[in-house]
Each structure stands twice: as C-alpha cells, then as structure tokens.
Symmetry: C2
Amino acid sequence: MDSWPAGTPSGADLHLDLTTGRARGLGLRAALEDALRGSVRDGRLAPGTRLPPSRSLAADLGIARNTVAEAYAQLTAEGWLTARQGSGTVVAERGAPAPVATPGLPQRAPAARYDFTPGRPDLGLFPRTAWLAAARRALAAAPNEALGYSDPRGRIELRRALADYLARVRGVRTDPERIVVCTGYTQAVGLLCRTLHERGVRRAAIEEYGLPQQQHLVETGGLTAVTLPLDASGARTDLLGPTGVGLVTLTPAHQFPTGVALHPARRAAAVEWARQSGGLVVEDDYDGELRYDRQPVGALQALDPELVAYVGTASKSLAPGLRLGWLVLPAELVEPVTRQKYLADGHSGVFEQLTMAEFITSGGLDRHVRRCRQHYRRRRDLLLTTLAERAPQVRVTGLAAGLHAVLQLPPGGLSERELLAQAGWLGLSVNAASGCRAAAAGPAEERPPALVIGYGTPPEHAFAGAVDALCRLLTL
Amino acid sequence: MDSWPAGTPSGADLHLDLTTGRARGLGLRAALEDALRGSVRDGRLAPGTRLPPSRSLAADLGIARNTVAEAYAQLTAEGWLTARQGSGTVVAERGAPAPVATPGLPQRAPAARYDFTPGRPDLGLFPRTAWLAAARRALAAAPNEALGYSDPRGRIELRRALADYLARVRGVRTDPERIVVCTGYTQAVGLLCRTLHERGVRRAAIEEYGLPQQQHLVETGGLTAVTLPLDASGARTDLLGPTGVGLVTLTPAHQFPTGVALHPARRAAAVEWARQSGGLVVEDDYDGELRYDRQPVGALQALDPELVAYVGTASKSLAPGLRLGWLVLPAELVEPVTRQKYLADGHSGVFEQLTMAEFITSGGLDRHVRRCRQHYRRRRDLLLTTLAERAPQVRVTGLAAGLHAVLQLPPGGLSERELLAQAGWLGLSVNAASGCRAAAAGPAEERPPALVIGYGTPPEHAFAGAVDALCRLLTL
C-alpha cells in the first residue's frame, strides 16, 4: 500500500492513499474523495487546514485537475470542506466526532444445550420447500400494485383467506373487512391499547400469570395494568366489574402458562362484563390450532364479535420469524385500529402476506398444522411417560394443547430459584412459573415450585436428551 | 339442502341442517356443532331453550349418541350451551350478538388513469426473479434458529451487509452493532420519538414542507411538532437554536418535496445545533441512491455519527411493499431504541431480512439500482424536454435526484385547487405543493401554484400518455 506525498503550499502534508479505494473498485475521483474524507475524519487534516489548489494536487497525484476539482466540490457539498472566496478550499470547522465504537448491548446468555424455553415451535418443522413454492406462486400472480404502499389493514388476498380459515378452524365470526393484518400479538395489543387510550381508557386488566412482557406491552400502549387472579377455571373474569378497566387481555383457549381452558361460565362473564361496561375483551389465541386430546375449544370471539377483539398469529403454527399476526375486530374498532396501524408502520410486508394467503388457500397450512400436531403429541407423550416413570412426584398440567406444560413439584424440595441454578449446570434452560407473574400482581403467596416447560423448543435430535436432563433436575 | 326435523321434548323445534357442514368437508360431529352454533347465533334456539337429550337427538338424526354427546360437550366448553345438573343441556343465556357487518371504511378514490403521486417507484422494475432467487438461497442457508424470535435489532447477516453497503454508497459511518432494522421511515421516526420522549424531550422540529403525514408521525411518538422554514439552501437549520426542540427531522440529500440538497453550511449548522443542545438530527435518506447529474451527496450522518440518526429504506430503491428500512444510531441510542423496537413488534420479519442481505452481498442491489437510475433518468429527460416544448412557462426544479420534480407555474393562471380539479377530469393524479405543508407551519404566504410530480409512479406503458395529460393540464 503506497501513499503519494502531495505538495501542499499551505504547509499541510497530505498523505492520501488512493489504493485502498481503488482496490474496492472505486473510480479515481471516488477513491480520492474517500481518502480525503478519511483524513478529515481521523484528524490528519485538521479543521481550518487549507488544501492545495486542485491544479497542484492533480499534478502531485498524476491525475486530471478536473478530477480533483470535482472531488473538492463533492466534499464541500457534503460539509467536509469549505470553499472560501479568494482563499481556496479549507477543511470545515467542526469538533472531531467521537469514534464509531460498538456499544455495549447486553449480550444474550449463551444458548443452553437443552432449551425448554416456552412459547416457541420446533423450527425444524418449518416447511421451507412448500413455503418457497407458495412464495413463488404468490409473487408470480401478484399485480405490480401489490408491491407498493398498500391498505393498512393488509392485502385483501390474505384477509379473505384468513376469514375462511379462522371460521373453519377456530369458529371465529368475521369477514375480510374486519381483519387487520399485523406483525403478531405484540403489535396487536399495542394498537388496541393506543386506540382505547385515545377514547379515554386508562386501565387494562391482564392475567396474573402470562407472557413475561405482557405488562410492558400494555404500558407501552399508555395504559396502567391491573391483574386478574387465576384459578382452576382460568382467569377470574367474574371479578372484572369493580376493576374499572376498559380492556382485558385473556388467553381463553389455553391459558399461558397454566394451560387451563377458560371455563364456559368465565367466558360468559367476560362477554357480559364487556356488554355492561362498554369494555373490550382481547382474545390472545396464540396456539389455538394445537390441541391434542379433543378438538380445539372455539374462539371466545364467536360469542360476541362486537365485544371481543381476536388476535391470532403464525408464530406458533409456522415460525415467529415471519412476524405475521392478525386482528379480528368489532366493527366500530376497524377504522381507528387501522389508523393506528398506518401510523405504526404503514402496513405489514406484502410478500409474507401474499405467500401466507397462497399457503392457506392451497391447503399447505392445514397439512402443516396436522403434521405439527402429530409431532408435538409424540413429544408430549414421551415427556409424560418419562416423567411418570422417573419423576412420579411431579404433577404435570396444561397438556391438552399447545407447546408447553407446567410441572408442579411437591413442597419441601428445591425452590424455583435453586432449580433454575441447578438447571444451568445441567445445560438446561427452563422457566419458573414465578417468572410469568405480572409485576402488577405483587408478590405471590408462598406456593410449591413449578416449572414451565416449552417442549416444542428443542430440535428433534436433542429432544430425548433434553427430557433426560429435565428428569435429572427433577430428581436432584 | 335438506334439514332434519328433530324431536324436541322441551318444545323447541330444532331444524338442524347438517348437509352444509358435510358439503364443506366437516365430519358428522363437526357438522352438528356447526348447525347448533348457527341456530344459537341467529336466534332460532333462544337462550334458555332446553335441548333434547343426546339419545333422542341421535335417534332423530340417525347418528351415534356419542356424537351428539360430544357435540354438546364441545359447545358447552365454548359457552354456547350450559349443562345443568339434573335438567340437561340448555342454550346459554346471553344477549344476541350484533350481526357481523362490513364496516364503512373510507374507500380509496378509484385509481386515476395517469398517476403522478410522488414517493413511489415504478413497481414494474421490481426484480422479481432475482429477488426470489435470493430468497431461495437465503432460506437454504439459514439455520433453524433464524426462523425464531430474533435480535430486535434485526439479523446480523443484514446488519453486516448494510454496514458495508451504506458506507460504500452513502458514506455512512457505522458498524453492524449500531444498526436497527425496522419497517421504514414511519416506524423509525416513531421509535426515535418515543425514545426521546422517555428522556424528557417534548418538541420536535420538522421541515415546513414534507411528507404529508410527517407531523402525525412525530405526534404519535408523543412529541409536539414545530416547523423549520425552507429556502433555496434547504431547511433553515441555522434557526434551530431558539426552538427548544430535542429532535429535528431533515431530508438532507434531497429535500421532499422541493428537491434541494441541504447546503453545506446548513449541514454544519444542524450538527452544531445538536452538539451544543444535546439534540438529535434525524436524517431521512429516502432516495439517496437515486441521483442523476452528479454522484450522490454523502450522508449528513458521516459528519458526526454520535449526533445524527440515519434512516434508510428499500421503499424507493426496491418496493414499499417490502417494509424494510434501517436506522444507523448514535452509540448511546442503540439500547433504548432497540427496546422500543422490541416493544413495538419484537423484531422485523426475518425472511425479508435474510433475502435482502443475500441480495446486497450478491451484488443484486447494485445492479438493480443502476438499472433504476437509467430508467428514471430517461423518464426525467422525457418529462423535461416535453415540458420545455409544450409548457415552457413552467419552471421545473428538484430534478437532480430521486423520483419527483416540482413544477412551478407562473402566477395569474389556475390556482392549485383548480389545477387538482381539472387534473381529475383528465384522469390525472398529481399533488399540490400546499398538500405537503405541515399543519404546524400555519397558512402559507400567497405564492404561485406548484405541483409535485412523482414520475416514478406510472407504469412504463402509461408514462408517455401521463406526460401528455400533464402538459394538457399545464396549458389549460
């Protein structure tokens, strides 16, 4: 790497290395600009330094004068240099910018060898070939306008496919005009909270135990969270009346994490509360398609589509990375929620939407869900029989559906905190039930330890080993 | 379509039509459930109605008793029916839900025959084959974990590719750790405003003329908008000092809509303001790659990466439907903006991200942008020469870059309002400059009419006709 010493009548000593830029495929002028920028940036050319006239620098570098003059003009336009009438070109005055350094983002813990983190499907099941084929068909059929700015509610092709699918598989009552495609539950609950906040709602009820981030999501939407206790029939929706909330989020088909299906009386109570108070029920139907011992419990939304906003997702049935979800809305919320979606991100990506529409209408999703159900049922059965044999003191609940189970340990053994620490030594990642407790619920009563086991998460080759490590943990 | 009359000891007269469900491929039990749900829903089975014992209904329908019992159990679980000890199964008490009706969303105006709406690329240029090929390669190379919940900043593959690309093409100074992938400028400005709002910022400056929705976006992020006047050198960043804002959004490379490149002194003033006030400059680099008469003006961000948040997008260079954008952040904003992204939607879709990374690193994006530049330059030249010939009284500005031009009409002719009305009759969609004026800027001074012409928007086959219609409008 040579560098050209350049004659500098103003006394500065330019060392401009054009070879680096040239080696990166830049033209002469661009390479010169690059070198000049670098010199200003790292302080070799200090603010106020006068540059040689273009004619001299061109001669020194053995390039055309015009090339130098154009490079000066470009860097002047970008603010690196200043052209002063009568005194030529000088390096612009400005404080030296801080160096670009990698900020210290909290690093993730290294992946555990055996990962039972709940809420994740087995990503090895993702139907890559079928999905790509659907993408190809969808893109081939899409008109050009489909690639542009689009209806904030999402593409009509997907909303039509979803209306049929959700009616058939989840008993949802809808038409395509009431569906807003979004990126998943996180965005859906944000849109709903912001919509209701604009109408004066300030408080939302969430389940006492749920997604670890559920309270944050509600609060980001501008609402204060209060919690609803859980019992063996699910969330205590019968207690909603005096809370004064304007919105309640529920997981009716399969409570997260307890796994309970909301009792019919509690379903009725939720709808009744909404009718009398003017409130909104948000139904988080995150794994409604995955049920093993009986057919899926239909959507709560069907009890009254004007009082329940249904939220579904492809995160469990296909892959979280897709960021595809959907809202089915009461009629009067369609317009304001659509406006919030528009302000949040315009609309969801159309390529995934068109592919998903094709995947649903071609029957690909049904085939895939059927395959997933068999796969997870096998895992569940292996987990159950192994635990019954090797850790019979553990009570396993919430297994009729979805991708996770709750293991309740007898009192008097290790605490949840001790279990998590020991799990680390076994290369095992599990969640404690207390980690799903909403902060707004305050400290829990003293209760025996429980673990939430996401048995969808381990890759297939590691599943048996993961169950073995889990049994070792439970018998410590 | 037959229906079975069913014996009903309680006096109700069930008309259960199983054929509809059967024709849709449902099994017997599902078809029965469907028919029962329908009857409850539309009121044929009123709340409180006692259903026949499963044995009688089974006999009436000629199906197994167990099938009926299971259907009753399912509908009880879903809340349609209630099982009463000793008195059999009755229809649950609840008000009749309102019918599902299509809400009256404001419909879009029918598409104009000739569409010059600014801010849109020619979607016919989208490289469908190359994009699909990149998607195939990207998905084949992706590990399973890439399909799961991901780093809120986006996939490392894309952040690496962007860091190289933006340095090379836009002179952005960054590394992959400072990039947050998002869905475009709309989301980016929301994330930034919410982040600064948490730090106590309450006011943001926007350009007097800009994206029609720019003020809404800032306000959705919780900030109050004040406006910065524009002149021939671009935004009056020299006036930022007394405004007391904590953030300013700028379009330095190509002001929207005027098309001016921000003058070097104004670039310096923006950075100087940020340095002295602790404020943040947001650089909206929406069409930085598309410049015709000279090489692109480098990113303002390079003047000081710790004071400028750079926002780029694939909406103009590829397609808005992708919903792909990126933030390059000052180090100390990476963590809080990442947190806002996590709360907004978890992370952006990984499929588009991986495809875009592959598209960039394989050189596909460079090839595509080169092709676009030639295409738009041809259009621009045709527009310019045709206008010079047929409407020489019109002054055309802002044409050195991007996808739009401003046509300034001499005073004394039609007003902007009259021009838009006449355009409608000609099947022409154009924007008036006044439509880009921020509400916060108050009413504009009286000035001659100007139109903002997005010459990327018409499909290729309609372009010559669109220019012709435009000339007819301008010579009315």
